[in-house]
């Protein structure tokens, strides 16, 4: 049975790690995810779990060690943030292309520079094309729930891909909030035992991991990796359904909040979605038909589902907590627009950048965006790639 508790986002993930009790966790500390390996180490020292914790000297090594242990047949995971993820870059691609179901809990923090420890999604978005499944959380509850679902998704034989479960640095990682946690045995039962089909420490069935592939084979390997990413949609949906059936919570690819008859929809990921929902309630009380589409799964990108969900509205604000420095808006904006076009959904879209390096996103910020959407729907041209909450000369 669910139990009411209060925890920070980092505490919630550490609690879930204790419950899952993975075989191996190499990690190197970095703000704001440091508490996760710290708390896990405490659980291990107290005898509450028996994960093999490997304190490594860098994030490149933590991902390398996770790859090694996962290839050997051990359920492996790590945690990081920001530059730590950037330092793993090379290895992220190795994990995905070797089809190793490593789980990484990412506490989103901006990338340098200027050096800053606060939240945006530039770390996760930077790794969007490394072949990892990416799932984002609005609050500590979703961070906990998503972590538990990561293993059954990653380890499914139709998938065999690594999964990154993301939450917003400090905003949820360091905020104590109410949460429902599940019994250890229920979580263990949901996640199940790990029985890899092929692994290095299996003398009866030798395999190679990470060999060179000549051009005659490489392209097929990459194509198969892409097919696995596409197939993961079905598995993500099944696991989400199983989680709902067992624990009564959660969404599949996204949450639709008051969108059924909405004229104006904000498409957003992470903690700011809750703030946007509050704005929607206030606007609804004032007669404005506003709604929020909170994207949970960014990789694989649920393009047809998003296009279908947005089909009936007049205008959508696409909110990127990340700058792509390409003169063409953030990644979410580019991909949502492409999804709409391919599905022949020709609604107004306005791309926004918000919350970089911890810039606060408030209910008022969200309401200003919605008021611009009302203008856009009337035919007023709204500047694309607009920054929310930017300080300007007055």
């Amino acid at each position: 049975m669910s139990r009411k508790d209060r925890m920070s986002g980092n505490e919630a993930v550490a609690f879930a790690i204790r419950q899952v009790n993975p075989d191996v966790m190499p990690a190197f500390p970095i703000t704001p995810s440091t508490e996760i390996p710290q708390m896990v180490s405490t659980y291990i020292a107290n005898g509450e779990m028996d994960t093999e914790f490997i304190p490594v000297e860098s994030e490149h090594s933590s991902m390398s060690a996770a790859i090694g242990s996962e290839a050997a047949g051990a359920r492996s995971m790590t945690a990081t943030s920001s530059c730590g993820l950037a330092f793993m870059w090379e290895e992220l691609l190795v994990a995905a292309s070797n089809r190793l179901p490593v789980v990484l809990t990412l506490v989103n923090r901006t990338l340098s520079g200027p050096i800053n420890i606060n939240c945006d999604h530039s770390d996760g978005m930077g790794a969007r094309d490394t072949g990892w499944i990416q799932i984002y959380a609005e609050n500590n509850q979703e961070a906990y729930d998503n972590y538990i679902q990561a293993f059954p998704i990653a380890e499914d034989k139709r998938v065999h891909l690594p999964v990154m479960v993301c939450q917003d640095g400090f905003i949820t990682s360091h905020a104590v909030e109410n949460i429902l946690v599940e019994e250890d045995e229920d979580v263990k039962e949901f996640v199940g035992e790990y029985h890899p089909e092929e692994f290095l420490l299996n003398p009866g069935k030798p395999v190679s991991v990470g060999p060179y592939a000549v051009s005659a084979y490489s392209m097929e390997a990459k194509y198969n990796q892409e097919l696995a990413m596409e197939a993961s949609k079905e598995v993500i949906a099944e696991v989400a359904q199983k989680f709902r059936d067992k624990f009564g919570r959660g969404f599949t690819f996204f949450e639709e909040y008051r969108t059924e008859d909405a004229d104006y929809i904000m498409l957003i990921m992470g903690s700011a979605a809750g703030t946007a929902k509050e704005a929607v309630d206030e606007l609804r009380d004032a007669g404005v038909k506003a709604g929020v589409l909170k994207l949970r799964v960014f990789r694989p990108f649920p393009e047809d589902e998003i296009a279908k969900a947005l089909r009936g509205c007049k205008a959508v604000a696409i909110m990127d907590r990340c700058e792509s420095y390409n003169g063409n808006g953030g990644p979410l904006s580019s991909e949502v627009c492409a999804a709409l076009y391919r599905n022949e959904v020709f609604i107004k879209t306005v791309s926004y950048v918000y919350g970089l390096a911890g810039r606060d996103f408030t209910v008022d910020s969200a309401k200003k965006v919605f008021s611009q959407l009302e203008e856009a729907a009337k035919g007023v041209k709204i500047k694309q790639h607009t920054y929310v909450g930017l300080r300007t000369k007055s």
Partner: protein
């Protein structure tokens, strides 16, 4: 102040325990069945630098994840901040500010940028030193926040805090009674202001 839905902003200096006080308040309110949020704002945190922490306490689920700009209550853990930080910015006139100081309320009011709501003073240093022999302002300021906001009944607060301290200080039981004394002394000291 509506004790059921309340937003609190804490001003302190790094190392004084303002963040801990905010997290303790969230914890103790959770135990009485409330929805809670307790979170710090992190800058280049270092000992002595101004820091802010926040609480939302509500009877319904809290979804907003932003800082608090229009609090119902402000708690100032270090009075030297009054000359450098606009602590009453956005503070509701129906609300209140609590300042840790040995000065009288009349001496503090001129430092509050014309704030017209409730002003309360607590000499957390004197209370803490008398009760604990050391200066830890967060226990008295936590008690003051509860006393002024009525976010929970005093009796429930005292009961839950004892349980909380017994857990937190399991290896240092000698400080439990001192911290409890700091809490009750703060309620007593505020009595004639409430």
């Amino acid at each position: 102040m509506n004790g059921k839905n309340i937003e609190i902003r804490w001003h302190g200096r790094g190392g004084q325990g303002a963040k801990t006080a905010a997290l303790l308040l969230a914890d103790v309110c959770f135990k009485t069945g409330a929805y809670v949020q307790g979170f710090p704002e992190y800058g280049p945190e270092r000992m002595g630098a101004p820091i802010t922490a926040f609480n939302r306490i509500s009877d319904r689920q809290i979804r907003v994840h932003s800082n608090i700009y229009n609090p119902d209550l402000v708690v100032v853990v270090d009075e030297t901040l009054l000359t450098s930080v606009d602590v009453t910015a956005g503070l509701s006139e129906d609300g209140a500010v609590i300042v840790n100081t040995d000065k009288k309320k009349e001496e503090i009011i001129p430092l509050l940028n014309g704030y017209k709501g409730g002003v309360y003073t607590v000499d957390a240093r004197a209370i803490s030193v008398a009760a604990l022999g050391k200066y830890f302002p967060n226990s008295p300021m936590l008690a003051a926040a509860v006393a002024v906001s009525h976010v929970m009944e005093k009796e429930d607060f005292i009961k839950e805090m004892r349980a909380s301290y017994e857990h937190k200080f399991a290896k240092k039981p000698e400080v439990i009674d001192g911290n409890m004394k700091a809490l009750t002394e703060t309620f007593a000291a505020l009595e004639d202001q409430l």
